[in-house]
Symmetry: C2
Subunit: 185 residues, 2 copies
DNA sequence: CCCCAATGTCACATTTCTGAGAAATTAATC
DNA sequence: GATTAATTTCTCAGAAATGTGACATTGGGG
């Protein structure tokens, strides 16, 4: 039960901060259905909450991505699973990406969260290059672009779902359609 | 000169708010290379600045998109020009989209800005349906998804450029490659 | 029924953000 | 070089956000 509330606050905070970095904590508390006072019982201050978010993201998101890549099966279906995994992470994935690519963020490989992001990023690039060597992914685009595009499609899918612009059942189907073709598959 | 500063503040504000809605005005002023006091001389308060941003966006972005659609030439190249126009609008386009799709935003067709957004949105959908009828765009995806995807690709291209993840000369090329194929062209 | 852990309520000090006045400074124009 | 417009600097008061302490309330488990 205690973990329940704490986790709910973190999940809410990720969604809120992903949308608005400087949103007041009151907003997070409200959406998490607790008082600001309760929020502060679990997290001393804003930065501690941010840290918790970052850690949670690292754990869930990074692990989900790694799991998809570790999948048995051919490269192509691994790529597909990777996309689905990221979409399932939703705001978490979006925030993961945003956190480590913001102007203010100074990257330190010594920081566990940065290291995890970097590892995921590197592995992704490597995987794409591998797919390009197999002539599965087009060489008209760079691996860096494929990564950006991947993140973009995930964001699009998550937002479209949230806005109700696509039926739930179509979300992943459309995302994979556009992503796979968009990288020349 | 007076217009210079005012416009610079608006441009900066759009970029800053696009990244962080609740960013303090100090941040906007700093990036616009003026004092917060100067900012307040042009804009009474935050909401007036926001309004100015919204109007500026409507003007530049909406017009650029309309111009691309009014182009002579075949449908396909119009679509391509539309994408390039949106990418050229950069943060403005992103913010246009964000403003009118945020949870807090309550849409009123009577509001000029909302009306402009709605008009652009409708025209886009109509155009896509037209392309689908001509069998240029795949019918596997809905027009709504194509719109979301379009915005997503624009965002991706703008961010990738800003982050230096792609060479400037490749930005539009990659974006069109991924977008066009991503909708089944 | 009582206890205890989780949460809520309220009150408060502190900090940051906001908006505006007045005078000083800079820059361009004549 | 005097004049004027634009901007900065300094100041301040009020608003909003933040963080905390003391105490009340609630809702299971013993």
């Amino acid at each position: 039960m205690i973990q329940d509330t704490k986790q709910r606050i973190v999940d809410t905070a990720i969604a809120v901060f992903n949308d608005d970095q400087s949103a007041p904590l009151e907003k997070v508390a409200e959406k998490a259905l607790v008082t600001r006072r309760t929020l502060h019982r679990y997290f001393k201050d804003r930065s501690e909450l941010l840290t918790a978010c970052s850690k949670d993201i690292r754990k869930r998101c990074s692990e989900a991505m790694a799991a998809a890549l570790d999948n048995p099966g051919d490269s192509l279906s691994r790529l597909e699973q990777l996309l689905y995994a990221a979409i399932d992470c939703g705001a978490k994935y979006a925030f993961f990406h945003k956190l480590h690519n913001s102007d203010t963020h100074d990257h330190h490989s010594t920081n566990d969260d940065c290291a995890a992001y970097e590892a995921m990023y590197r592995r992704f690039l490597q995987f794409v290059v591998h797919l390009q060597d197999q002539a599965i992914v087009s060489k008209h685009v760079t691996a860096e672009w494929v990564y950006c595009f991947f993140s973009g499609v995930v964001n699009t899918a998550v937002k479209a779902d949230h806005a109700g612009a696509v039926a739930k059942m179509n979300q992943k189907q459309f995302a994979w359609f556009s992503f796979s073709r968009g990288i020349g598959i």
